[in-house]
């Protein structure tokens, strides 16, 4: 199995992402945003950061990078694509995921560990997790308020494409547990084909006990077992 972590100018979680994947034994390359081919990769990760300084809108300029054409082609072929934080924003801007991410409702940059509830496990990214299970994973964003029109939200709900919601420690997806004002506490969604996943929390920062949580591992373990790689010991 081979993974690509895309580097845009202003990406800053690319190293964390590569480190996490390599610790799972995955052969992982940095891929520059000007590269035009992603042939041979089983997983494409769009990392967090501030691509192009968040100019215009988060992810708005990155989505025109040459590599995004290849991301689109590989996504259409069924290759797994995960967009974390700024990567999620880029996938929305690129139209690979519906909706958009806007300024946090309290205008604060929120950087903290919190809980997300697993809403659906019938997908390549969470099938090793439990529906209703809680993951303690950090967020770090100023523009993570997920928004979409009512029809889009209804479709996401009806088709099991809301994969993660912000919840309290008891697992209730209440407003007090919503860090940014996201519609229906949405923290992560996937596309209709279930091979493109975008989420605001950072699972790559929750893979090593020294970082305070290892709950992010289940996402990488799910991806690995989807791709037929045995779970890391």
């Amino acid at each position: 199995m081979k993974a690509a972590v895309i580097r845009f100018p202003g990406s800053n979680c690319d190293q964390d992402c590569v480190l996490a994947l390599r610790e799972f034994g995955v052969e992982t390359d940095f891929v520059w945003h000007k590269d035009e081919s992603l042939a041979g990769y089983d997983l494409i990760a769009l990392p967090g950061g501030f691509s192009y300084g968040d100019y215009l809108r988060c992810g708005a300029i990155a989505r025109f990078s040459p590599v995004m054409k290849a991301v689109r082609e590989q996504a259409a072929r069924g290759t797994l694509v995960i967009g974390i934080c700024n990567g999620f924003q880029i996938l929305c801007e690129a139209g690979l995921l519906p909706g958009a991410l806007i300024r946090n409702r309290d205008l604060h940059f929120r950087c903290e560990h919190l809980h997300v509830r697993v809403e659906d496990v019938a997908n390549p990214f969470l099938h090793e997790a439990q529906t209703g299970g809680l993951l303690r994973i950090p967020i770090a964003h100023g523009e993570g308020s997920y928004t979409a029109d009512a029809a889009t939200l209804a479709e996401l709900n009806q088709t099991g494409r809301v994969l993660l919601r912000y919840a309290d420690a008891a697992g209730a997806a209440i407003d007090a547990a919503n860090p940014n004002g996201s519609a229906e506490n949405i923290a992560g969604i996937c596309n209709a084909a279930r091979n493109v996943f975008g989420l605001m929390p950072h699972p790559e920062r929750a893979c090593d006990p020294r970082l305070g949580s290892t709950d992010g591992r289940v996402i990488f373990e799910s991806i690995l077992s989807t791709l037929g790689v045995r779970k890391a010991a």
Partner: protein
């Protein structure tokens, strides 16, 4: 030749910046302001070889995000 693109958050989308600006205006002593919304203005300098349709395309695809924003294109002589 110039064009101005005015991009505003859709009315249906929460605009926390606008709310914060309105509150600041109230603190400044002007309670008459009932609401504020914050958008952006993008000025384009043109050589004249473009069509209006091309400008709308760039407004739609890049300068605004139709999921959350509306735009207005003003072409100036």
């Amino acid at each position: 030749m110039k064009a101005k693109v005015i991009v505003m958050p859709k009315h249906s989308v929460l605009d926390p910046q606008g709310v914060a600006v309105r509150d600041a205006i109230h603190h400044h002593g002007l309670p008459a302001v009932k609401a504020a919304r914050v958008g952006k203005v993008i000025e384009l300098e043109l050589d004249g070889s473009q069509t209006e349709a091309q400008l709308h395309e760039v407004c739609r695809d890049l300068l605004s995000n139709p999921v959350i924003e509306d735009y207005q294109l003003v072409i100036e002589a």
